[in-house]
């Protein structure tokens, strides 16, 4: 009898432990946010949208939080093709100027997207981070002067929720590489 009781206790302990290892944030929850990133980025300039290059990626890191990654071309331009074999200097300048103008507005949009993601990811603990990294796409012929290659923003979920309700924008960390 004692053995049966001991075995039952052991099974209960194992099942409880396995439940503790399951991720709090499911892949489906992350995909929902990933799919929304395309729409939100292209909605920044609806008449002349940015180009989302590749597929947005995300991952949940247990104990840290959620990280989203995307790659954007802020000013889509025709690359070098057999029909457009050379880029003129005025094209280079126009593309560069356009990207420089759009960087600040992109950062503002990224803060908004982070706040929306924090609101939709209910299972992420309030103290864990939600991060969004945007890699900027450049053709080889482009001028990179004054432009970052990557912008990374992150903040604890509770800070982002506070920002969404109208405060705490300054607490969002922003790094450029």
């Amino acid at each position: 009898m004692k053995a049966i009781v001991a075995a039952g206790l052991l099974l209960c302990a194992l099942s409880t432990g396995s439940m503790a290892d399951k991720p709090r944030v499911t892949r489906a929850m992350l995909e929902q946010v990933e799919n929304g990133l395309d729409v939100k980025f292209t909605a920044i300039w609806p008449q002349d949208p940015v180009e989302v290059v590749g597929v947005p990626q995300s991952a949940y890191v247990s104990g840290y939080g959620v990280v989203f990654m995307s790659k954007l071309n802020l000013a889509p331009a025709a690359g070098i093709t057999p029909f457009h074999p050379a880029i003129r200097p005025d094209e280079i300048k126009r593309t560069h100027d356009k990207k420089v103008q759009r960087v600040e507005q992109l950062k503002s949009a990224m803060r908004s997207i982070l706040a929306d993601a924090a609101a939709s990811l209910d299972s992420v603990p309030a103290d864990e981070q939600i991060a969004l990294g945007v890699s900027l796409f450049y053709w080889n012929w482009e001028n990179h002067d004054g432009l970052p290659n990557q912008i990374v923003m992150h903040a604890p979920k509770k800070v982002l929720l506070a920002a969404k309700t109208g405060g705490g924008q300054a607490a969002i960390s922003s790094d450029e590489y």
């Binding site: 290059v53 590749g54 080889n140």
Partner: protein
Amino acid sequence: MSCSSVDLKAYLLGELPPAERVSVHNHLHACPACSDEMERLDSMRTALASLADEEPPQRIAFVSDKVFEPRWWQTIWRSGPAMGFASAALLAAAIFVHAYARHAAPAVNTAEIEQRIEQQVNARIGAAVTQAVAAAEQRQDQRIAQAVTTAEQRFDAQYRSELANAHQMADYYRDQNARFMVASNNAARSSQ
């Protein structure tokens, strides 16, 4: 008998009387100084005797004599016109001699000399042209090599640039293809 009373000249010339001659003879044996003087006088007499006898001039010449008249060349030398005429004659003679010597010079083969000069000139020109051509070819080779190197470097840089662009374009279209595949997959999944 004292030395001052001895007449050696008369003794030498044999002009003394026999008695005095004996006494001088004895004195000469006794007196070395007079004996030496006697030897010098005797040597002088022997030297004079060895000279040839010469006839004295018959008479003394006068300035007006013919022997003092100027010779013909002195006359010319002292006469201006004559000297001028002689100079002209000498010059004419020199001109004739020169002309004769010039005509008498051996004939020069000008054709042979011209041919030799032409050969030498041609040889020098040929050498100079060969050297110039070699230098020009060397410079041309260097320029060509430099141009080829530059073209190769430019072509290589252009090739690398185009290759990098092609790689980037391929990456770009691969990302976009993946994006469309994911979107298509999501659309199919949502429609089910």
